[in-house]
């Protein structure tokens, strides 16, 4: 598929209307606030606010969600720098450099760089997304059920290999999540499975309530157990843009990290936290002064912030062109698309090509909105972190229940949210990662229906699974990523332990 320049310009014009710009800005502000509040992640933010888009026009709601996504990725840096608590997991690497800088009295410099690095990474990610996804979708148009089955297996294997400390628990989470998806009508024969005779279970697990439960309510139960305010560094935030010297100093890292971030984002399953840590590690490895890392090196801060924002552009690539989310947030976004009656994937390019380009445009504008709102509101956002938990946490629970109820006006969905909230809390407590469940909820039905379809075509012959080169490649990649995860686990564990040690050193001083 040729890249359509004309369509790109018209879609920018379409997005440049007051109502869309307004939605992008609202989303960005909400995103930054959510990202800045520790315990509220980008995944949770999008899940909580998806219900606000019910009944809006597709472009309006999607551009708002883009704003939340980009804003939250940056917002995590604010609390990372000021109260040494990453606002989102993706900002964990930012703490390592940002907090020592703030302690030195350079909070303003750190915040300015974090914002600029996020903006830079976001723009690169959005650019790569704009040019790469149409190409990938044109390849994907040739995909049959076998390829989609391979893709689903690949995505699941990646999320299992990278999430959590125990591979076995990751596997258990994934297969449990996949089993949850098999409730409801069988995709081929229509036979209702595992419904316990409950009518609401016939359609399978309600997606939005399930993930609001897993990611928001579980965090509420976690949050109420710990009380005790964080100590904020009283810093003068007098800098809005990084100095020219800082930009020049970090420029190489900015470029490298934005590419790393986009590529990692584009791999189904791997998200912003991984992108940030890998970029941070790479920056440290390539640096001429690695001994400065951990003591407030601005380059490391730039690398981590840049990578987690470029990751969002990267994660949109497989979502839009293949219908496979690139990370946990895009998995939630997929739900938002479906609510709008849009199924991401190659067919989206055939049927709604104008909307696809408008999404590109709104993603790009969200980066600019983030830079300007971030500069204008820096004082305000720094204060938001100190909101009283005793008010915030219960309010999140109420909002979760309301959001779950709103879509179908059905109390069953509220119970469902509560159930998955309790389940998510217990699983988190015992080290079972939750993201494999989220991805399984999307990839499971995709894997099953395509596998069954392929077997219908072949008349029950399993050799069809190995008849298509792309599908075989994907399945081989899936096996490789699992084998590498098993063999490399000790290495990864050592690395994690090292980073954890560094993290504890920085946070406990």
């Amino acid at each position: 598929m040729e890249f359509n320049w004309e369509l790109m310009f018209t879609s920018y014009a379409a997005v440049f209307t007051p109502s869309i710009l307004f939605m992008i800005c609202v989303g960005t502000v909400a995103g930054i606030v959510i990202g800045a509040l520790p315990g509220l992640t980008a995944t949770m933010g999008v899940a909580l606010l998806v219900p606000l888009t019910f009944g809006r026009a597709p472009l309006e709601s999607l551009s708002m969600l883009m704003g939340i996504y980009c804003g939250a990725m940056y917002g995590g840096a604010i609390s990372a720098i000021l109260i040494r608590t990453p606002g989102t997991p993706a900002a964990a690497a930012t703490v390592l450099e940002g907090y020592p800088m703030a302690k030195r009295g350079e909070a303003g410099r750190a915040m300015a760089m974090a914002l600029f690095a996020s903006f830079f990474g976001g723009v690169v990610g959005a650019l790569i997304m704009t040019f790469a996804s149409p190409f990938i979708s044109s390849v994907a148009l040739e995909f049959g059920p076998v390829e989609y089955f391979g893709l689903a297996i690949f995505g699941l294997s990646v999320i299992i290999s990278i999430s959590g400390r125990s591979l076995i628990k990751g596997m258990m989470s994934a297969f449990f999540g996949l089993l949850i998806c098999t409730t409801g009508f069988d995709p081929i024969s229509g036979y209702p499975r595992y419904t316990f005779g409950i009518v609401e279970m016939m359609e399978g697990p309600p997606f939005i309530p399930t993930l609001i439960g897993l990611f928001a309510v579980s965090e509420v139960f976690n949050e109420v157990q710990k009380i005790g305010g964080a100590q904020q560094i009283m810093a003068k935030l007098d800098q809005y843009l990084p100095s020219w010297a800082d930009i020049k100093y970090c420029f190489k890292e900015l470029c490298r990290s934005s590419i790393i971030g986009t590529v990692i984002g584009a791999i189904p399953g791997a998200g912003g936290d991984i992108a940030a840590f890998i970029s941070y590690g790479e920056a440290k490895r390539a640096s001429k002064n690695p001994e400065r890392y951990g003591h407030g090196e601005i380059e490391g801060l730039a690398a981590s912030e840049c990578a987690n924002n470029s990751c969002s552009g990267g994660a949109m690539i497989p979502l839009l062109s293949l219908g496979v989310p690139g990370d946990a947030v895009t998995a939630v976004l997929l739900g938002a698309f479906v609510i709008q009656g849009l199924q991401p994937g190659p067919m989206l390019y055939k049927e709604h090509i104008d909307l696809v380009y408008q999404i590109f445009a709104s993603m790009m504008l969200a980066q600019f909105a983030m830079q300007f709102i971030g500069m204008a509101g820096i004082q305000l956002f720094a204060r938001v972190i100190m909101v009283d938990r005793a008010i915030l946490t219960p309010a999140i629970f109420v909002l979760s229940c309301v959001g779950a109820f709103a879509m179908r006006a059905n109390v069953f969905d509220v119970y469902c949210t509560l159930f998955f909230g309790i389940l998510g809390y217990v699983m988190m407590r015992y080290d079972y990662p939750l993201s494999p469940i989220l991805l399984a909820l999307i990839l499971g039905p995709m894997a099953e229906s395509n596998l069954r379809r392929a077997l219908v075509i072949s008349g029950g012959d399993f050799s069809i699974l190995f008849s298509r080169p792309i599908a075989v490649t994907l399945m081989v990649l899936a096996v490789i990523s699992l084998v590498m995860a098993i063999r490399g686990h000790q290495k990864v564990e050592a690395k994690l332990a090292e980073q954890e040690k560094l993290f504890n050193e920085v946070t406990q001083e």
Binding site: F175, R193, I391, F397, A406, Y430
Partner: protein, 154 residues
């Protein structure tokens, strides 16, 4: 973590066995030999296998990570349990009693549980949050909230 892993593994096995048992009652496709139970059965078997691995590892003393034991005397655990009960009551009461009263009471209780007990705040904040959520969903987004007891007024 050892005990927790063994229990976790047993739960995994039970879920898997249930899925297989339930699957065995499903009709089979005569032509294809692959019916609705085909995919869940594979998944359940894999879940059981990994649960077994987890148990074996735990028995061999290879469990990873640590978990702080739950003690009832711990203030945090007490708050967690109270929250759990409050959350369940909130969800049950939501439909019959209605969103506005339930949410106000829930928020006030939780503020008290979490240690913000300034009377002024406890009177002002819960209704404020509840009303703003209600206004956004009911009036701006036109999504209906459970009206409950207030059905005649709203």
């Amino acid at each position: 973590m050892k005990k927790a892993d063994i229990i976790g593994g047993l739960i995994g096995i039970l879920i898997g066995l249930y899925a297989i048992w339930e699957g065995s009652n499903m009709p089979e496709d005569v032509v294809m030999k692959i019916g609705p139970s085909f995919f869940p059965t594979i998944l359940a078997s894999l879940l059981i296998i990994f649960s077994l691995v987890l148990i074996v590892n735990a028995l061999r003393g290879k469990s990873k990570g640590e978990v702080t034991p739950l003690k009832l005397s711990d203030k945090g655990v007490q708050r967690g349990l109270i929250t759990l009960v409050a959350a369940i009551v909130f969800c049950i009461a939501l439909d019959p009693i209605g969103f506005i009263p339930t949410a106000i009471v829930f928020l006030a209780c939780m503020m008290w549980v979490m240690g913000n007990r300034k009377p002024m705040l406890m009177i002002v904040v819960p209704p404020l949050i509840t009303l703003s959520i209600w206004l956004i969903f009911e009036k701006v987004l036109n999504l209906s909230m459970p009206a409950g007891l207030l059905i005649d007024i709203l």
